[in-house]
């Protein structure tokens, strides 16, 4: 097992390098002089020249890439001019908040989605199946940012059950129950689409598996139906559900950008949007590379989970 994890980590190195190259190339698409783009058109020529030197922008493209990569590997992501602090410090602080939001959402959509899919398949064409299919259809069609706004309107403004936005109450907040109260709405809104997608996939994966001969074998030997569904069928269906969980984690992370804006959640997504609007490109560049790298590592964890489940995968 250890050697399998090691192998997967090694195989991630080219992917991570590829990610830095892609981000670097996209950033070099910036029309005109990057230093001017960063500092704005009112910058003095001296400042522009100084920044060009600082960023190494006077050097050739390939050399610039390696300088940037080397700096990143030593933990130097540059300095955000709009926040006037190191990019990495800002990212780490923000990423923590995103992780809490996206992580909670991911747990919600995985558990709820798989459960809904299993119930739907086991009661195919029954009332539960139809009800779930209907809710899922709505779930995957509502834009998460609109859903979030409507939830605020209903649960925070009209009913007053939950706080409107933010991560902690400004006065007297900061403990876990406070965080949980702030987390409920954004995490649910963020999970909606992924829950729907996972539920659909789980349903069809379960239906596919339930027709297999080994399910008939399990029934033929007298295994109780509950165990046939929750054991034999679900376990086999997980083989095709787990990779989709990995993909949906990416969608949850993406959706977090919208949800963080709607709920004023102090995460990386909001930071990135603000950075784009203030043209703080080093912050964008660093944030994108950092989050993408985390996602690659997460997918390795998904592969490892898959290999634990399926003995046919050579480890």
């Amino acid at each position: 097992m250890g050697s399998y994890i090691f192998k997967r980590l090694i195989s991630a190195v080219p992917v991570l390098l590829g990610i830095t190259i892609i981000v670097f190339l996209i950033m070099s698409l910036i029309p005109g002089d990057p230093a001017t783009a960063i500092l704005g058109s009112y910058a003095t020529p001296e400042n522009v020249e100084k920044l060009n030197r600082d960023l190494g922008l006077d050097k050739p493209l390939v050399q610039r890439y390696f300088i940037w990569l080397g700096n990143m590997l030593t933990g130097d992501f540059g300095r955000s001019f709009s926040l006037n602090r190191p990019v990495l410090d800002e990212i780490l602080e923000r990423f923590n908040a995103t992780l809490i939001l996206a992580g909670t959402s991911f747990v919600i959509c995985s558990l709820l989605g798989i459960l809904a899919g299993v119930v739907s398949a086991a009661r195919q064409y029954g009332f539960a199946d139809k009800a779930i299919t209907f809710v899922v259809l709505i779930g995957i069609s509502v834009p998460s940012f609109f859903l979030g706004m409507m939830m605020i309107l209903l649960f925070a403004v009209n009913l007053g059950w939950l706080p409107v936005s933010g991560m902690y109450a400004i006065y007297g907040g900061g403990d876990l129950p406070d965080l949980a109260r702030h987390l409920i709405m954004p995490a649910t809104a963020l999970a909606a689409v992924a829950t729907g997608v996972i539920a659909r996939l789980s349903r069809s994966a379960m239906l596919e598996v339930l027709r297999q001969d080994y399910i008939r074998t399990a029934r033929a030997k007298g295994v109780p139906e509950r165990r046939v569904i929750m054991g034999h069928a679900l376990r086999a269906a997980m083989v095709s559900i787990i990779p989709v969980l990995g993909i949906q984690a990416g969608f949850v992370l993406s959706g977090a950008v919208y949800i963080e804006i709607v709920f004023q959640w102090p995460g990386v997504g909001r930071m990135l949007v603000d950075a784009i609007l203030t043209r703080d490109l080093l912050l964008v560049q660093g944030g994108v590379v950092f989050v993408a790298a985390c996602y690659v590592l997460f997918n390795i964890a998904v592969d490892v989970a898959q290999s634990l489940l399926d003995p046919r995968i050579k480890t």
Binding site: V15, G18, I19, I22, M27, L29, I30, P31, L137, I140, S141, V142, P143, F145, F146, M149, M150, I152, L153, S204, M206, L207, L210, R211, Q212, D213, Y214, R216, T217, A218, R219, A220, K221, G222, V223, E225, H232, R235, A236, G250, F251, L253, S254, V257, I261, V262, L272, V273, A275, I276, L277, L281, V284, Q285, V288, V291, A292, D310, P311, R312
Partner: protein
């Protein structure tokens, strides 16, 4: 095509999606013709008018602009941008995919590695990076969304192309001297195009949503121009005091995405051939029973199948897979059931414990009695307690009938634990014992193997061990040796024969192989088109077959050392059981058939234990 459309519109949800989408598209196309107010004219005196006020059907926004007009213009912009992004992504992505798939080798490798890397990003990060570099704006948002979706098309289309590039017609085109460009454009593209269109129809909704999302973040369309996303984004600050300005564009995005989703699902379902046959239904825990007619009286046999009727209801068609079969076994007896594929022998076997997949299977008549108790229509729990404990099955092809993700030990232990309250360790000890009983060497280490780590013969032994786990009285073996080679087959048969003699097991042995019947069975029943056409003691049937079908079936078996002999295949095919002819089902293939054979019902008759269903039997019975 017309069946496709029929299927699509039989799906009410898909039709609903199509109607909603058509209404939206028509409304948007008619925008220049409609008497709408200018969407960008501000009138601060009229700000935040509620819906249904005079002159403003949907009210006004924070600058007093007419919401209906802005909604329709915004929808038009959002749809146009989404469709444009989909077209760009599909064109570039498919071109890349076709090139990678067609040329293969290093080209393919480099392209696909790059695609993999692009797909390693959560999609919005890539889009944000592109917008960050190019600057906010609707065109840049379009480019970002299209670019982000290119890898999806490239990967899908490459997969299809690789499959096609190896096919004969591409080779033929190459041999005919056609150039690469021409082959791609005239041979490949027409075959790939439907896939591209389907992929586009399933992603266009996403792309509309994604561009709306970027605009919502303020990175897409810039004021005063507004698509649905930026309308929603602008309305957000007034959401609490004037929710209608948010709800109007939000609902529109929802309606568009939902209708596209509904339509896309409908298209996918209509194209999936499995849905037409109903094969995507999950089988219920027991076969459905809709029994009509009299229920036969109990007998003193151990297991008796009496006048069993099992059908498959697929759409309007009824396939009569089993049309009145009666069989019985006593303890220690081995009954062979023989017939071609599709003769209904497996369905008969599966009906016993309600294991015929339903839907579409339905038991429509007769009885199955275990020790006199009728099991047809018995409650699930009654059947479950008998399954494996009293009546056990051995199935064909143990690679698909054993669960791939559980070790064989766990699967054996589970069979025991389903019927007996014993500890896990005890169950494992029993599992090892069972593996020894079926003569698997190194049972202690084999018990932790997964099915894929064993040979075919070994897996079949596991299947037999599983059937023996609870020491049943009856074993129903459904072609248990068909997937095996001859020497392994002989060993398995010897094993079954020993078990029956040692333990007094009754075996119902289903096969299409007369050699196996001769070796193992005391009695044999021959099935054709869902009915028994002949039965009797094995030697009597083999030596003097009475039914023309049996005779010809035996004539099909090559004899070892029998010299050169012409093998007489039976001309024609077994009838489709949805449309059985009147009278003898074999008549169309029988060279002795008379008018009377086709006239009506022919009874199974003779002096017990021999019986035949034929008016002109080869031998009198």
């Amino acid at each position: 095509m017309s069946t496709f459309l029929k299927l699509l519109f039989r799906n009410r949800l898909a039709a609903m999606g199509a109607v909603i989408l058509a209404v939206i598209v028509l409304a948007v196309l008619a925008v220049p013709l409609l008497p709408l107010q200018d969407p960008d004219v501000t009138a601060t005196a009229d700000r935040f008018k509620r819906p249904f006020t005079d002159g403003h059907l949907l009210g006004t926004d924070h600058l007093g602009r007419d919401l209906l007009s802005r909604l329709l213009h915004g929808t038009r912009l959002s749809l146009a941008i989404g469709v444009a992004a989909a077209l760009i992504a599909a064109t570039i992505g498919s071109a890349i995919g076709i090139i990678a798939g067609y040329f293969g080798g290093r080209t393919d490798n480099i392209i696909m590695r790059t695609v993999d890397m692009l797909m390693a990003f959560p999609y919005i990060l890539l889009a944000l990076a592109i917008v960050a570099a190019l600057g906010p704006g609707l065109m840049n948002a379009l480019i970002a969304v299209a670019a982000v979706n290119i890898p999806f098309f490239a990967r899908n289309i490459r997969g299809i192309t690789v499959g096609l590039a190896g096919r004969e017609f591409i080779d033929a085109a190459r041999l005919a001297g056609m150039g690469h460009a021409r082959i791609i454009l005239t041979e490949l593209l027409p075959n790939v195009l439907p896939v591209i269109v389907i992929a586009m129809s399933t992603t266009v909704g996403w792309m509309i949503l994604e561009t709306a999302g970027l605009s919502f973040l303020g990175l897409g369309s810039q004021p005063p121009q507004a698509d649905l996303g930026s309308m929603l984004g602008e309305a957000r600050s007034a959401m609490i005091s004037h929710p209608h300005t948010s709800i109007v564009p939000g609902l529109m995005i929802f309606l568009i995405v939902m209708s596209i989703n509904l339509l896309g699902d409908g298209v996918r379902d209509a194209l999936d051939p499995r849905l037409r046959s109903g094969a995507l239904s999950r089988p219920l825990p027991t076969t459905l029973v809709e029994r009509s007619g009299d229920i036969p009286e109990p007998t003193d046999d151990l297991l008796a199948i009496q006048d069993l009727h099992t059908q498959f209801h697929v759409g309007a068609r009824n396939y009569r897979a089993v049309g009145g079969v009666s069989l019985a076994v006593r303890p220690g007896e081995c009954l062979g059931v023989i017939g071609e594929s599709g003769s209904g022998k497996s369905v008969t076997a599966l009906s016993v414990m309600g294991l015929v997949a339903s839907p579409p299977g339905v038991i429509t008549g007769g009885a199955v009695r275990y020790q006199g108790e009728d099991l047809i229509g018995a409650p699930y729990e009654t059947l479950r307690k008998k399954r494996g404990d009293h009546v056990a099955y051995i199935f064909q092809d143990p690679l698909s009938t054993l669960h791939p993700l559980y070790s064989v030990g766990d699967q054996l232990a589970e069979a025991i634990l389903s019927h007996h309250k014993i500890g896990k360790a005890e169950a494992r000890r029993r599992a090892i014992e069972l593996l020894r009983d079926v003569r698997i060497p190194n049972a202690e280490s084999r018990v932790d193997n997964y099915p894929h780590e064993m040979s075919g013969g070994m897996r079949q032994r596991v299947g037999i061990a599983m059937a023996l786990a609870n020491e049943p009285d009856v074993i129903i073996a459904d072609e248990p040796t068909t997937a095996l080679d001859v020497t392994v087959q002989a060993q398995i048969l010897a094993l079954l024969d020993d078990l029956r003699r040692d333990r007094g097991l009754a075996i119902v042995f289903i096969t299409h192989d007369f050699g196996v019947v001769a070796q193992l069975c005391d009695r044999v029943a021959v099935m054709y088109a869902g009915r028994i056409v002949e039965e009797g003691p094995t030697t009597a049937v083999l030596d003097a077959p009475a039914h023309p079908y049996t005779k010809r079936l035996i004539a099909c078996v090559p004899e070892l050392g029998g010299g050169r002999r012409e093998l007489a295949a039976i001309p024609g095919l077994p009838p489709v059981v949805s449309d059985l002819p009147a009278g003898c089902a074999f008549a169309p293939r029988c060279d002795k058939a008379q008018e009377s054979c086709r006239a009506g019902e022919i009874d199974l008759k003779g002096s017990a234990p021999r019986a035949v269903r034929c008016l002109y039997p080869e031998e009198a019975v």
